[in-house]
């Protein structure tokens, strides 16, 4: 009887288990907007430092292209958010709080990226956000406070009060993979650098790699 009931159940939760694909697109589009915003800021400061006019005809074309990209990405976010809403996928209390904190943290990250883009003076070809270029002392202190004090507080609250045990397990798995990747890749890179085969180990690259691994595995374990 119960098996028959299970076979006949077609509630809307089963029709779309997680909205994972739409969520991935929203995250990628948001990241794209941040990166494009950084590119605009970098382009603008580069033009000005070269004595050029960012609002010259070629400059306007370039800016229009950047703005079109941002517009397309924003449309993608709107469309996928609408898709999630239209799927009738209800959220529990924890998820609503979780989503609010994620959006807040993402917005804060975007603000940090824009500040770094506007403050950095990179000359090594990398985007200013991830470069080792000098920044002013007040900006460095402000961002270090944000990352060193605010981030741990928000993270503590998030792990203690917001996420549930399934997401905590997803984090643990992601962290384990990232830790082993760091433990293996960092010394291999360092040894090959000492052997003269690679450039010096780059802390930012290692940081981005471990973060990327945690996020990918967390997402897969949470939404698969």
């Amino acid at each position: 009887m119960l098996n028959l009931m299970e076979a006949q159940m077609t509630d809307r939760d089963d029709a779309d288990n997680s909205n994972a694909r739409a969520t991935i697109w929203i995250m990628l589009a948001a990241l794209g907007i941040v990166m494009t915003g950084g590119a605009i800021a970098g382009y603008w400061s580069e033009m000005r430092s070269d004595g050029g006019d960012p609002l010259s005809p070629p400059g306007i074309i370039a800016l229009a292209l950047f703005i079109a990209i941002i517009g397309g990405l924003a449309y993608s976010i709107w469309r996928n958010a609408h898709k999630i809403k239209a799927s009738g996928d209800p959220l529990s209390r924890r998820e609503k709080l979780n989503n609010r904190i994620l959006v807040g943290s993402g917005s804060l990250g975007a603000i940090i990226a824009v500040i770094l883009s506007l403050s950095g003076r990179a000359g090594d070809g990398r985007p200013d956000v991830f470069s080792n270029a000098p920044i002013s002392e007040p900006v460095a202190l402000l961002l270090a406070f944000t990352v060193g004090v605010l981030l741990p507080l928000v993270s503590w609250y998030w792990h203690k009060k917001v996420i549930d045990e399934q997401e905590e397990a997803a984090y643990r798995t992601g962290t384990l993979f990232a830790m082993y990747a760091f433990w293996i890749i960092a010394p291999v890179w360092w040894l090959l650098w000492r052997g003269g085969m690679l450039p010096a180990p780059d802390g930012v690259a290692l940081y981005l790699m471990t973060t990327f691994i945690v996020v990918i595995i967390w997402f897969w374990k949470k939404y698969r």
Binding site: L2, M5, E6, M9, D11, R12, D13, N17, S18, D89, P90, L91, S92, R93, R94, E95, N98, I163, D164, E165, Q166, E167, A169, K222, Y223, R224
Partner: protein
């Protein structure tokens, strides 16, 4: 681990999010448990048992013992 969570939820006409609210977990967690992708902790399993008025072994089926329960 197999379980009857989906059936028990349907009998109460709850969505996954509603069950998640009763158990204080996310909808994804309920989905992952129902589909056998995540095995809940013992405290959460007891919480489910209390919620449905059943014993844990009446909700979860340890496939390794052939599903035979006393």
């Amino acid at each position: 681990m197999k379980n009857r969570l989906k059936v028990l939820r349907a009998m109460r006409n709850w969505s996954q999010a509603e069950l998640g609210d009763h158990l204080d977990v996310s909808r994804q967690a309920v989905n992952a448990i129902e589909t056998g992708k995540y095995d809940p902790s013992l405290p959460l399993a007891f919480k489910m048992a209390r919620l449905f008025g059943l014993r844990i072994e009446e909700i979860f089926d340890d496939e390794s013992d052939g599903g035979q329960h006393g």
